[in-house]
């Protein structure tokens, strides 16, 4: 039957099949696209479009009734040269990211090594250390605001029991301690995640290599530094990058626990973007969009730098 004379349903089926008998090992491109279309549409609508729109807004000011005026790089210039709070937020975010990333990854590795070495109660510890990962930032934030409370928080109570009353603080109320208090909270939440990833990687290490090292009387530390860690390098780099990206965009925990205070000492770039977009009495999203775009570029550059510096032959997937 000629194709043009075939009923519509048959023509559609033939089109899906690529118009001919398809290779059974590979689906026709049209079929692939058809099945991918819903996910691609959702991705385009909720990821690609907002990103492109943010770039567009960053070079405009939004006036009354959504009137947009192209201003070129004016928003970026004002941001880089006049905005003290932005630079304070950059410093805070950088400290949080560097300290938090190193703490997260190293801490996770240490916990994983503990479990790999089959310490007593390893199964229980694995559950205990992983449980905070399952909690939302809101719950974690509220719990730790109470833990850090000056009058009835567990941290100050413990210090009192240990005879360290002079160390009792308003941990979230003092600019000198607030950011570090958030770092500790964040580590508490995320160490378990890195621990699990490292534990899986440790269990995947070839036993014959570890066995051979033991046969050669390789001590535990030597085995760790010369065999285990180098073999964990791809996992290490992946987790470093993931942790870095996550902390550069930190919002939830800061918003719940301190709102960026006291005196901007815990203000991050993300909380500052939110405040400029929704808390300042303006509908102009141009300036906060410029902050978001600039920060996106900075994160991208740093991620490229990190992967280049720590580049290995193995292809990274994240």
């Amino acid at each position: 039957m000629a194709e043009s004379a075939a009923p519509p349903r048959a023509r559609f089926v033939a089109w899906l099949a690529g118009g001919s008998i398809a290779d059974s090992r590979q689906a026709p491109m049209r079929t692939i696209l058809l099945f991918l279309a819903p996910a691609l549409i959702v991705y385009a609508a909720f990821t690609i479009y907002p990103v492109l729109r943010t770039f567009y807004n960053s070079v405009h000011t939004i006036g009354p009734r959504n009137a947009q005026t192209f201003v070129g790089l004016d928003n970026f210039t004002a941001l880089l040269t006049q905005d003290r709070v932005f630079w304070k937020a950059v410093v805070n975010t950088s400290i949080f990211t560097v300290v938090g990333t190193i703490g997260d990854v190293l801490g996770g590795l240490l916990l994983a090594l503990c479990l790999f070495a089959k310490v007593p109660l390893a199964r229980t510890l694995r559950v205990v250390w992983f449980t905070p990962v399952l909690m939302s930032y809101v719950v974690v934030g509220i719990i730790w605001v109470w833990l850090y409370d000056y009058d009835w928080g567990l941290v100050n109570l413990l210090l009192g029991w240990l005879g360290l009353e002079s160390w009792q603080q308003s941990w979230l109320g003092d600019p000198a301690t607030a950011l570090w208090a958030l770092v500790v909270t964040h580590l508490w939440k995320w160490l378990g995640f890195n621990m699990i990833i490292f534990l899986a990687a440790l269990h995947a290490l070839p036993e014959e290599v570890l066995g051979a090292a033991e046969l050669d009387n390789c001590g535990w530390f030597a085995k760790l530094f010369h065999i285990i860690i180098p073999m964990l390098r791809p996992t290490l780099v992946n987790l470093l990058v993931l942790s870095f990206i996550g902390k550069m965009m930190m919002f939830d925990l800061v918003w719940i626990m301190t709102g960026g205070g006291p005196l901007w000492s815990t203000e991050t770039v993300s909380t500052y973007v939110y405040k400029r977009a929704f808390n300042w009495n303006t509908f102009d999203l141009g300036y906060p969009s410029a902050i978001a775009v600039l920060w996106f570029i900075m994160i991208l550059l740093f991620v490229m730098l990190i992967t280049r510096l720590l580049r290995s032959r193995d292809r990274l997937e994240f």
């Binding site: 939004i62 006036g63 009354p64 009734r65 959504n66 709070v85 605001v145 850090y148 409370d149 000056y150 009058d151 308003s170 979230l172 109320g173 003092d174 600019p175 301190t258 709102g259 205070g261 006291p262 005196l263 901007w264 405040k275 977009a277 929704f278 808390n279 300042w280 009495n281 303006t282 509908f283």
Partner: protein, 429 residues
């Protein structure tokens, strides 16, 4: 058989007619959408829902659908919906949100709303460029609540005019701290304004309404000697331990609890919307029925230009979306919210002042003594309209939140640092 066919046909026609009428009625039905804050205050929810039902009763075919939010969520929802040409017909606003006026997202209400039921001063709050943009519902004054029994235990008597001097107030704070209690329950954990109550009210009394207004509008320097003098006095209060150690993280609801339940404090500066949390059952976080609540005036400032001044403000208000297709109906809802009946219900169930004229001069019920005392504290008052958080904008507002609201009363800044940073954020001179 023929009879059956005819019967079936008649039944079909009847059903079709009924459906047709129904569909015609449905086609004429209008749904008025309202977005409101204060989802967690049952009395306000009940009141606004009642106004909705009243409107539906008087306008058959009209349905009012209210979506309830908390403030931050409402603001984010409006800021995304309105620029997209969407959003509700009516929405909750507060007087500081003038960006909705400048952005053209709300319509003037001069000819739409019945203003005979609204106090002129409250209408003035929403008047910009000669037009009225919002309908005020809630009014409140800034008050200094205290525990009468605790004051008596400290051996201090409230003056006849209920107003201590600067030095008397400082002595009172020191006495309370020496007795092992927190003088002033206050926390800024989840609000951008309560930490500045003492400071702002002192500035108002020192400067008077005109210069206070200039200060807030960036026309008077924070380094003015009078302003510095007030900051210096408040610093003395802070250094004397006026505020709790967990001032920075104590939330608004927790600060209420701190004042009238545990651990208890002597004083509690708060808007008169204090009643919304306090006058509920104890197991819901309210004060006990026999709590010895008193209301005193904020202290008089030495050489103050207006020690009888008080801050009055409009809180909850409503506006009409400029893109609404039912603006007249939306205005009817605003009118339904501002009847004397609703105003009276507001006072009797929410225990808070309202911008709606109710004609009520006497109070009854368990909280009558409170209202009587509250009204007594208004006698002879000269009002300044608007809280600082309502008036300040942009970077100045951010500076106010970080410095006057939290950093300075939190003891993190010296007087010099505080006034310098406030000037950097606010002073236009």
């Amino acid at each position: 058989m023929m009879k059956q066919i005819v019967t079936m046909q008649l039944a079909a026609v009847a059903v079709t007619l009924a459906l047709g009428v129904g569909i015609a009625a449905k086609a004429d039905d209008v749904t008025l959408t309202v977005w409101s804050h204060e989802a967690d205050e049952p009395a306000k929810v009940a009141l606004r829902e009642k106004a909705a039902r009243n409107l539906e009763a008087s306008h058959p075919g009209v349905h009012v659908k209210i979506t309830w939010y908390e403030k931050d969520g409402l603001s984010a929802a409006l800021k995304t919906a309105l620029p997209a040409g969407q959003g509700p017909d009516v929405f909750y606003l507060e007087p500081d949100q003038t960006d909705y006026i400048t952005a053209g997202y709300i319509v003037p209400l001069d000819s739409l709303v019945n203003w005979n039921n609204i106090y002129d001063w409250a209408k003035q709050v929403w008047t910009h460029d000669g037009k009225v943009w919002g309908m005020p519902q809630e009014a409140y004054t800034v008050e200094l609540y205290y525990n009468k029994d605790t004051l008596a235990k400290l051996g201090v008597t409230l003056p006849a005019n209920a107003q201590f001097t600067q030095s008397e107030f400082l002595d009172l704070v020191k006495k309370a701290r020496a007795a092992g209690m927190t003088p002033i329950a206050q926390g800024v954990g989840d609000r951008p304004y309560p930490g500045a109550y003492i400071l702002a009210e002192a500035l108002l009394r020192k400067l008077g309404t005109d210069d206070y207004g200039k200060l807030l509008n960036g026309q008077l320097s924070f380094e003015d000697p009078r302003v510095v003098a007030v900051f210096t006095w408040v610093k003395q209060l802070v250094d004397a331990g006026a505020y709790p150690k967990n001032f920075m993280t104590l939330k608004l609801g927790e600060s209420h609890h701190y004042f009238y339940q545990k651990p208890g404090s002597l004083m509690f500066p708060m808007g008169s919307f204090y009643t919304g949390r306090a006058f509920v059952p104890v197991d819901q976080g309210g004060q006990s029925p026999d709590f010895p609540l008193g209301v005193m005036q904020f202290p008089a400032m030495d050489g103050g230009a207006c020690n009888e001044c008080k801050t009055i403000a409009v809180g909850a208000s409503f506006a009409i979306n400029a893109a609404s297709k039912h603006q007249d109906l939306a205005a009817e809802y605003l009118n339904a919210l501002s009847t004397p009946e609703i105003g009276k219900q507001w006072i009797e169930t929410i225990y808070l002042q309202t911008a709606v004229k109710t004609g009520a001069t006497e109070f009854s019920g368990p909280y009558a003594p409170y209202f009587t005392e509250l009204m007594k504290r208004q006698e002879g008052a000269k009002y300044f309209t608007g809280m600082p958080i309502d008036i300040l904008q942009g970077q100045c507002k951010d500076a106010f939140v970080q410095i006057m609201n939290s950093g300075f009363p939190g003891g993190l800044l010296s007087v010099d640092d505080a006034v310098k940073q406030m000037n950097q954020g606010c002073y236009k001179g």
